[in-house]
């Protein structure tokens, strides 16, 4: 995935889209005040300059799907692991909730179901049937909308053709009005994301930790 920070307006449409696509439970204001918000993607705000001359910069942070993910080896029950396509996935059924993965994630993108998930009426009616609802007590995080990837792959398989570049769109990518987010196959050198990842503006978040993240941020050097 490539995120163009120079395009991001911080509108948080991706956050909302992610919530409804992935059946993420709703927190209450009181719970949120205690730090119990459950977002798979969040917009970090960075301020530059002195008031009133402030420039705000936004950075959407989601699971970076690291190649060498620090969360993976520490899970005692293999609940988080690499799937053969290279995604860092979370198997909810295996998770016992040791929290180790979340502590070891330098990006703090893992969320925990502190209670059984709840939705205010009538939001439970708009659940996505493709995504399971996680019980309380398990860790969860961004999956790059794996259900959408699978659906496109199945369709392509049925039609006997390869998956076209840009055919898969996770909810956040689809909903981004500024088209700041682009999703594609990094293994395919001709894909749009591969080309953008080679762009001079490309950076990766905390690459120095050796996690080999798969989210590329495009940012004008200053």
């Amino acid at each position: 995935m490539v995120i163009d920070l120079d395009r991001c307006t911080g509108c948080e449409a991706c956050v909302v889209a992610c919530h409804s696509e992935n059946n993420i439970g709703m927190s209450t204001p009181e719970e949120a005040a205690r730090g119990r918000v459950n977002h798979w993607i969040r917009i970090d705000r960075y301020y530059e300059g002195q008031f009133p001359d402030i420039k705000v910069k936004y950075r959407p942070v989601l699971c970076q799907h690291c190649d060498e993910a620090p969360c993976e080896p520490v899970c005692p029950v293999n609940a988080t692991y690499h799937n053969p396509e290279g995604l860092n996935v979370q198997v909810y059924n295996r998770c016992v909730g040791t929290f180790y993965c979340a502590n070891n994630c330098p990006y703090t993108v893992r969320s925990f179901n502190w209670f059984d998930p709840k939705w205010p009426e009538p939001m439970q009616l708009q659940h996505n049937p493709d995504v399971s609802i996680r019980p309380g007590g398990v860790m969860e995080k961004c999956t790059f909308c794996i259900q959408r990837i699978k659906r496109v792959e199945d369709q392509a398989d049925a039609a006997g053709r390869p998956v076209a570049d840009g055919e898969v769109q996770p909810a956040c990518v689809q909903s981004c009005p500024a088209e700041a987010m682009i999703f594609g196959d990094l293994n395919d050198p001709d894909s749009k994301v591969s080309r953008l990842a080679g762009d001079g503006r490309a950076t990766k978040l905390m690459e120095e930790l050796g996690t080999k993240p798969k989210v590329v941020y495009l940012e004008k050097a200053r």
Binding site: V96, G97, N103
Partner: protein
Amino acid sequence: MAEHPELLPYGIIREDLFRPLSRAGSKWWFTVVACFLLVVAGLAAWGVQLRDGLGVTGLNRPVFWGLYIVDFVFWIGISHAGTLISAILRLTDAAWRKPVTRAAEAITLFALMIGGLFPIIHLGRAWFFYWLIPYPNARLMWPNFRSPLVWDLTAIVTYVTGSAIYLYLPLIPDMAQLGAHNKPWRRKLYKALSLGWTGSDREWHALEMAMKLNAVIILAVAISVHTVVAWDFSMSIAPTWHSTIFGPYFVVGAIFSGIGALIIVMATLRRTLHLENYLIKRHFDNMSKLLLTMSLLWFYFTMSEHITIWYGNEPKEMGVFGQRTRGDYAFWFWLMVFVNFVVPVTLLGIKKLRSVKTAVIASFGVLIGMWLERYLIVIPTLVTPRLASATSVYTPSWVELMITVATFAAMIMLYLLFARLFPIIAVWEYKPHSPEEED
């Protein structure tokens, strides 16, 4: 008479040490019942947590580890009182150890039982804790042996097994002697535990050999256990957790708090069971010196840990350092330095001030200080994650506090029950012809 308890006539020793088993005063009953009620309250709090979810704790994102992990490290640390100290004393053949060892070994076993519960209590789905155990299962997979939590499991299982055996071995001859107890249920219990011990020289030989071997093994295990607990932290890449010094630092801290706990237990036993002739000044003097040594060692490690962070000046680590030394946790940090270093060094380092009373005061301070140390290792790191936007605060909830209090009550209760069921000093080790006499 009190100077050399091992020279007391054997009959009196036996009488003195077996007496507590038969008489339970009202104070004993009161304390046991009070502790039991607290334990029940703690279990109820855990029940609430199991029913509602971990949301009833004060944990949040990114503070995913809280009081439970602090308690876990603390109790595993306390467990180093016993087995480690008693093994060192046994191997060096320190004659004064005799009345101390069993009291210490019992602390180990109970502290481990309590500490071992915390990783389960803090699980999101505690009812699936056994998924960490490798057994053929319907999920068709094994646990992930690369996870430090699985190392923890193996280490703690080994330590509990070893400590239980280490406590049990020297208990066997005493059980045989108690086989003639007047209460039928106790007679049955003691007889069963004595395994038909007859006191033959083969049995004695095997016992001494087994105890010697076990002391060596348990020493190696005890050090590894707390190292592995420390590695739960240092294997991660969180700022200040990822530190090479954590293994030995935790081991030193564990022995430190363990000795503190042991001094408190010894003083209590001496007072309540009237063991003034057995736990004499010399024991407290020696234990105080040990505590003092550990206090200095602890300070040395704390110093090396923090000075390298400060001088390295790496921003993320400095964030945690700042939280500890002048941020939200500064009060607790300096309190910890005060009770862990200033108090013991003053009270026990100055010979005039060193007494049973000051040793107990210093020990209480050390227990508080060591608990704080674990708190200050776990929490400040988590509230200052690498991405500043995720910063958070942590306040423990009543559930966590209740469970913490309950574990202290559980420790007291288990110990009181143990002291009524088994002689707290190994009677047979008080052989009338002690090494001093033979020389």
